[in-house]
């Protein structure tokens, strides 16, 4: 590398040059068309739209010129495939290849009415984007475009102007907390790893997004992988790690491809590798692909999986911060946590700490799904109310139905009933009513959803995903599941309900890892707010929503 570099030019100047060249190249075109190539829009046919756009643009003359890019996600997945026209910021939705001609005919003029998705609607206006600030506006596969949009300035700032301790201080003062769900203070974790003894240290990015109904991290990895790399590299510098791993679940082949491509390009630009941007900091980054085990989202299980073993957790302490990968101090953060870091370094801790609530700073990305009008990916400031998310951003419950509950935190979380719609969405408030922030899945349920059935669904999931190492989780989740099945079949008694509650308590307090400890949450939470539905199944032999295939107790006994 260094031999090809003119001696008088500093590495950061060289990056600046790449950025300038990219900006100049872009300025040659009056119009830039970004086609969303996230997993969601690809599944809706965005590759065909992009191909048609490229062919049409090549075949006609457009005043001022037009460039077509594969870009990221604007979050309105329900309207996929989406196309964004920059710099005019025009968003189109549900585009078919045959719509391409109309779009190009109207470049720079009035947007095509039938395809236009105005971005001055609450879905966009009520969001605040930090993690996803450039998503949809940069090319997912070109580091030059990321650089031209201010990418990697935070890494250069950290490496040239800040000591590792200053970086950690900045993150601590920002109040950033782990976005994987538990909300551990990120700065504190970094400081522990930095202080841990040992020459060899690792940074690991947890991209094993396993909660059903959660696809926030996928969006970052698919659309915006450079941002993730920048955050991880800053973290590695701060804690003194020389090697990093991004653990991506096998179900996300596109993320694997995009992240690997991003690493290759970053290495070429000397943003990963030996002497990163001309400093003495060396850092290498590799991808590890998971193999389909929910428990690998738990940090010690994830480390075991990177080491090539079964993904089974081990007791903590020692925490990975002191003894992680191959016994060395290891920093593990979630994708979204790392993706926040460049913005904090660029804008300062005070800026970040000014967003959100007293205890929960910044924003949170949610995958908003279920019985909701605008399904998609949203990023909101902490402290927004659930009502605002559901009714302003989400557009309310479709088909004139009544809201029943919002489920957050997936199989480890709980549900929030109508009476708590005005709850502030932050770590503390959610924990107080028995749910959790979780990694960002938010599933909206309406009056047709049976809460006992939902609890049974999550317990089945935990039972199947239990790794089997500790007995409370392996046996307990199965027993809880069978009790719930008994209730939904109408064969349970009130004594079973008592047993169910006792069992939940035992599994919660005696399981080895977070999977088992949190597994009873969906049951406990639904029992807290929808106990009458359990009673209706048991005492009245009747499912209020008609979802459960209830048999009368007498029938069940006769059949068995």
């Amino acid at each position: 590398m260094s031999t090809r570099r003119p001696e008088h030019r500093l590495p950061e100047d060289e990056l600046e040059l790449v950025s300038q060249q990219e900006q100049e190249a872009k300025q040659q075109y009056r119009h830039h068309v970004y086609v969303c190539v996230g997993a969601a829009c690809l599944s809706a046919g965005s590759a065909d739209v992009q191909a048609r756009l490229e062919a049409e643009v090549a075949g006609r003359s457009i005043a001022g010129g037009c460039a077509v890019h594969g870009g990221g996600c604007r979050g309105l997945c329900v309207a996929g495939p989406t196309v964004t026209i920059e710099p005019d910021n025009v968003l189109y939705g549900q585009i078919k290849p045959d719509d391409v001609a109309d779009i190009l005919d109207n470049l720079g003029g009035q947007p095509v009415e039938r395809l236009h998705r105005p971005t001055d609607k609450p879905f966009f206006m009520r969001q605040q984007r930090i993690v996803l600030e450039l998503a949809g506006k940069v090319n997912s596969e070109r580091i030059e475009d990321y650089l031209a949009n201010g990418g990697y300035t935070s890494l250069i700032k950290a490496l040239h102007e800040m000591t590792p301790a200053q970086v950690i201080n900045e993150i601590s003062r920002s109040g950033l907390r782990g976005r994987g769900g538990a909300g551990f203070p990120t700065g504190l974790k970094w400081r522990t790893v930095a202080k841990a003894e040992g020459d060899v240290k690792y940074v690991v990015c947890n991209g094993d997004e396993g909660d059903p109904g959660a696809f926030m991290d996928r969006s970052v990895m698919d659309d915006y992988p450079f941002r993730l790399l920048e955050g991880i590299t800053i973290a590695a510098y701060a804690v003194g790690a020389q090697q990093g791993f991004i653990y991506i679940r096998a179900e996300y082949p596109l993320s694997v491809k995009r992240v690997q491509n991003a690493i290759r390009q970053a290495r070429k630009m000397n943003l990963i590798g030996d002497q990163v941007v001309g400093t003495s900091f060396n850092f290498d980054l590799k991808v590890r692909v998971g193999a389909g085990a929910f428990v690998c989202g738990e940090e010690t299980a994830l480390l075991a999986s990177i080491e090539g073993q079964r993904g089974q957790p081990r007791p903590r302490p020692p925490y990975p911060a002191t003894s992680g990968l191959w016994g060395h101090p290891t920093l593990i953060n979630n994708v979204e946590t790392f993706a926040n870091v460049p913005a904090i370094i660029r804008n300062g801790a005070a800026w970040f700490a000014g967003i959100g609530t007293e205890q929960s700073k910044g924003t949170k990305v949610f995958a908003l799904t279920g019985k909701i009008a605008h399904s998609g990916l949203i990023e909101v400031p902490m402290g927004i109310t659930l009502r605002e998310i559901i009714y302003d951003i989400g557009g309310g419950i479709p088909n004139g139905k009544r809201f029943k509950a919002a489920q957050t935190g997936g199989p480890s979380g709980g549900c929030i009933p109508e009476s708590h719609l005005d709850i502030s969405v932050d770590y503390e408030a959610l924990a107080e009513i028995g749910s959790i922030m979780g990694s960002g899945g938010m599933i909206i349920m309406d009056e047709d959803t049976c809460m006992v059935d939902v609890a049974k669904y999550f317990m089945k999931f935990c039972m199947e995903e239990s790794c089997g190492k500790c007995i409370p989780c392996r046996v307990g989740t199965a027993q809880i599941y069978h009790l719930l099945e008994k209730i939904t079949q109408g064969a349970a008694t009130m004594a079973d309900l008592e047993l169910l509650e006792e069992l939940c308590d035992v599994v919660k307090h005696t399981s080895l890892c977070g999977l088992g400890q949190a597994a009873p949450n969906p049951v406990v939470s639904t029992l807290r707010f929808f106990r009458d539905e359990y009673i209706a199944h048991i005492v009245d032999g009747h499912c209020p929503t008609g979802i459960c295939p209830l048999q009368t107790p007498q029938n069940a006994i006769e059949e068995s």
């Binding site: 969601a40 109904g213 179900e251 193999a291 990177i306 090539g308």
Partner: protein, 169 residues
């Protein structure tokens, strides 16, 4: 760097791809999952001889390889069908009745979840969220989502696809 003296189960040239993965990781034990990924990508599934070869090459007991191969859902110990049919049973799909969809698909294909049809053509599986929640309930027929699915029209849609599959292969 460790070396390996084990020889592949047969003279299929594709073992070179597997060897390249193991060599890149210096035949270390931590290369096991990466190696199994490569074997499955190359040969479609993990058979006994492949697992024995991975064990010998990475200096691991066969029990360790078998343990890892069976622990993770992604690894298949039996060949998969040429075509795949995946019913999503993520939360958003579940509350939109995907469990009924599973039953209907099983009926239409005459196969239980996790198995392959008798002619070896189609494998049926369920997934915990494929991340297309706005289309819920989601049924992926060879990676393409069937739209506007209800338990009532599932059988028709699947049978239509099976007819198309049989015509084209």
């Amino acid at each position: 760097m460790r070396i390996s003296t084990a020889s592949p189960p047969n003279d299929d040239k594709r073992w070179r791809i597997v060897n390249a993965t193991m060599r890149r990781h210096g035949y270390q034990a931590h290369a096991l999952i990466e190696t199994l990924h490569t074997i499955q990508e190359t040969f479609g599934y993990l058979d006994e001889s492949a697992m024995r070869y991975a064990a010998a090459s990475l200096h691991l007991p066969l029990s360790r390889v078998y343990g890892v191969a069976t622990f993770y859902n992604h690894f298949m110990l039996k060949p998969k069908g040429v075509h795949s049919c995946v019913v999503c049973v993520g939360t958003a799909c579940y509350i939109k009745n995907s469990n009924h969809i599973v039953k209907q698909v099983e009926r239409a294909l005459d196969v239980v979840t996790g198995e392959t049809t008798a002619d070896g053509k189609i494998s049926l599986s369920v997934a915990h969220c494929v991340g297309m929640c706005w289309l819920a309930p989601v049924l992926l027929l060879d990676d393409e989502a069937a739209t506007d699915l209800t338990p009532e029209n599932t059988v028709d849609k699947v049978e239509e696809w099976v007819a198309y599959v049989n015509e084209t292969t």
